[in-house]
């Protein structure tokens, strides 16, 4: 079976990435990947590269067996969706209008949004507790509401592979959990997700696989249980950690560095 997305001898075009080894990685349906790494390691660049928004220094990407470059941007957008770290809101729009934008790749030049598209957008808003705000202006939303709206837009786009750059940004505790469970349920329906995360504990809980990205471009990846290796994580973050077990979950706590 073809992997949903496969990288072949991939190297990111980042000046700091001096390591010579390349990324030969494949993402299967039903997998939920977490990308872990310190600030500036290239997590966002990797996600943008997977989405085809930024060319790699070398290597190739295969989307369901087909080279990504040969696909039109619209064909890519039907398979790959990306949640950005920040949203640009220079122009006013309502919450519903913004979610409806996600239908763009599904419509041809002359098509307008149908009632079905509208229903999909409303459904996505509903799943993120945003339906009551449907007619609100996006400029009036709080940071967390805006982040959930971006997720709703991604759900409306309905791609096979969800690429998420820090999906829990700005979210309160409750919504961090509900959003990650939402992503998990999407993956269980046969899609796949790759998300850059800073919270080790959330990654440990919701990801099935992890990719550790080092500042020099080295990476190692595999199933969660193998990757949650304390010395490796301490090297990755240059930070001593404590590991606890509770309710069958691994809990990581950073140690004080001057103690």
């Amino acid at each position: 079976m073809n992997a949903l997305l496969q990288t072949h001898q991939l190297q990111l075009a980042l000046p700091a990435h001096t390591a010579t080894n390349t990324l030969d990685w494949s993402i299967q349906r039903g997998e939920c990947w977490g990308i872990l790494g310190p600030n500036g390691a290239g997590k966002t660049t990797l996600l943008h590269c997977l989405a085809g928004l930024r060319p790699p220094r070398q290597g190739e990407l295969l989307l369901q067996g087909q080279p990504l470059q040969r696909l039109s941007v619209r064909q890519r957008a039907l398979q790959l969706g990306l949640l950005f770290q920040q949203q640009q809101d220079e122009f006013p729009a309502t919450v519903l209008e913004t979610a409806l934008i996600g239908r763009h790749p599904h419509l041809s030049l002359w098509q307008n949004e149908s009632p079905t598209d509208l229903a999909l957008a409303q459904q996505a808003l509903q799943r993120l507790d945003l339906l009551p705000l449907a007619e609100r202006r996006i400029q009036t939303l709080s940071g967390g509401e805006r982040q959930r709206l971006a997720l709703a837009t991604l759900l409306t786009q309905d791609p096979q592979l969800l690429l998420l750059d820090e999906p829990t940004n700005h979210l309160d505790l409750h919504h961090q959990i509900s959003v990650l469970e939402l992503i998990q349920s999407e993956v269980q329906q046969g899609k796949a997700a790759v998300m850059a995360l800073h919270d080790l504990n959330l990654a440990a809980r919701y990801c099935s696989h992890l990719l550790l990205l080092y500042p020099d471009g080295q990476a190692c990846w595999g199933e969660k249980d193998i990757m949650l290796h304390l010395p490796a994580l301490e090297t990755l973050y240059q930070q001593p950690l404590l590991l606890f077990q509770a309710e069958g979950q691994s809990i990581f706590i950073p140690r004080s560095t001057n103690g």
Binding site: L78, G81, Q88, F91, T94, T98, G102, L107, R137
Partner: protein, 325 residues
């Protein structure tokens, strides 16, 4: 949702028609509606025919098309630069046109050459800004905007220089041109063709523009061929502005205010916004030009004065009453 907004489009169309009729009816010489009707169906005496067919009708039509061109160009520039403050002239287009036109006047060329020079100057400025903004790296809206503003400042200095060294016999003509006036308008055919052609090209691309307004990365992630779209928008906006400048010099304000007026009235969907801007811009300029002709008749006012006097209060009122922006 957007569907109920579409119902306001016929209202705009009606307003545009009323403005056009008003523009034909009103002038410093009183002519009855019956006389005008007679002339339009091919009757009337030679004097009335000359007044209406040679003076009023071409001017009203040129005003409408020019207003439409400027408003659509403004809406496009705002999306291209992701900046609601952008107007058709923000990238130095009118400055390039003005410098070329003034040079043509200094060379003692006729008005037709002056217009052609303005057109070439506008396009030259467009290419200059685009080339320089491109530079070594790729261009971003901020880079484009900065380059444009600096180039515009450069043109401004050149205009002042030309005015300073120009022989006094040429000076009044140069100043009139800079003020912008529909009295320059010789033909309404060119602006109408440009306006209709561009609207036709943009008709299927409205949703692309909606997505592009959310930022180029988001647009690319949603399947918009961003670079190609931005080239197209830039090219079309430049063309529209160049034609408008060629027809009537630089008339400020329409390109900035009309797209926002339409956003306040009709929302943010470019499929609706672009035709609405064309109608709204045309209506505003026809009304303004008609008022400029009759307000203190037989004296004539520069049309830019009226567009501002009319647009500012209407815009502020709508802004005050709306929570959209």
């Amino acid at each position: 949702m957007p569907n109920q907004l579409y119902r306001r489009l016929p209202l705009l169309l009606l307003a545009a028609l009323l403005a056009l009729i008003g523009g034909l009816l009103l002038g410093s010489v009183p002519l009855s509606p019956l006389t005008i009707w007679a002339v339009l169906i091919g009757e009337g005496n030679p004097l009335e025919r000359m007044l209406i067919l040679e003076l009023r009708l071409p001017r009203v039509l040129a005003a409408f098309a020019t207003g439409g061109l400027l408003a659509v160009a403004g809406a496009l520039m705002q999306v291209l630069l992701r900046n609601p403050l952008a107007d058709p002239y923000v990238l130095g287009l009118s400055g390039g046109a003005a410098v070329a036109a003034l040079l043509a006047m200094l060379a003692g060329l006729g008005i037709l050459w002056v217009s052609s020079a303005a057109f070439v100057g506008a396009l030259f400025s467009t290419l200059l800004v685009f080339g320089l903004a491109h530079g070594s790296g790729s261009w971003t809206p901020t880079r484009l905007l900065l380059t444009g503003v600096v180039i515009a400042a450069g043109w401004g200095a050149l205009i002042s220089f030309l005015l300073a060294v120009a022989p006094s016999s040429e000076l009044p003509g140069m100043l009139y041109w800079l003020m912008g006036d529909l009295a320059h308008a010789r033909t309404a055919l060119l602006p109408w063709l440009a306006l209709l052609a561009v609207l036709l090209i943009l008709l299927p691309l409205g949703r692309h523009l909606n997505v592009l307004a959310r930022g180029s990365l988001q647009a690319a992630a949603l399947g918009v061929p961003v670079r190609r779209m931005e080239w197209l928008i830039y090219g079309l906006a430049a063309l529209l502005t160049a034609v408008a400048v060629t027809v009537a010099g630089s008339i400020g304000f329409v390109g900035l205010i009309v797209p926002h007026l339409m956003r306040l009235l009709l929302g943010h969907d470019h499929r609706l916004l672009l035709p609405a801007s064309a109608l709204g811009g045309g209506t505003l300029l026809v009304v303004a030009d008609t008022l400029a002709r009759i307000l203190i008749a037989p004296q004539q006012l520069p049309v830019g004065v009226i567009t501002a006097l009319l647009g500012v209060p209407v815009f502020l009122l709508l802004l005050h009453r709306s929570r959209t922006l």
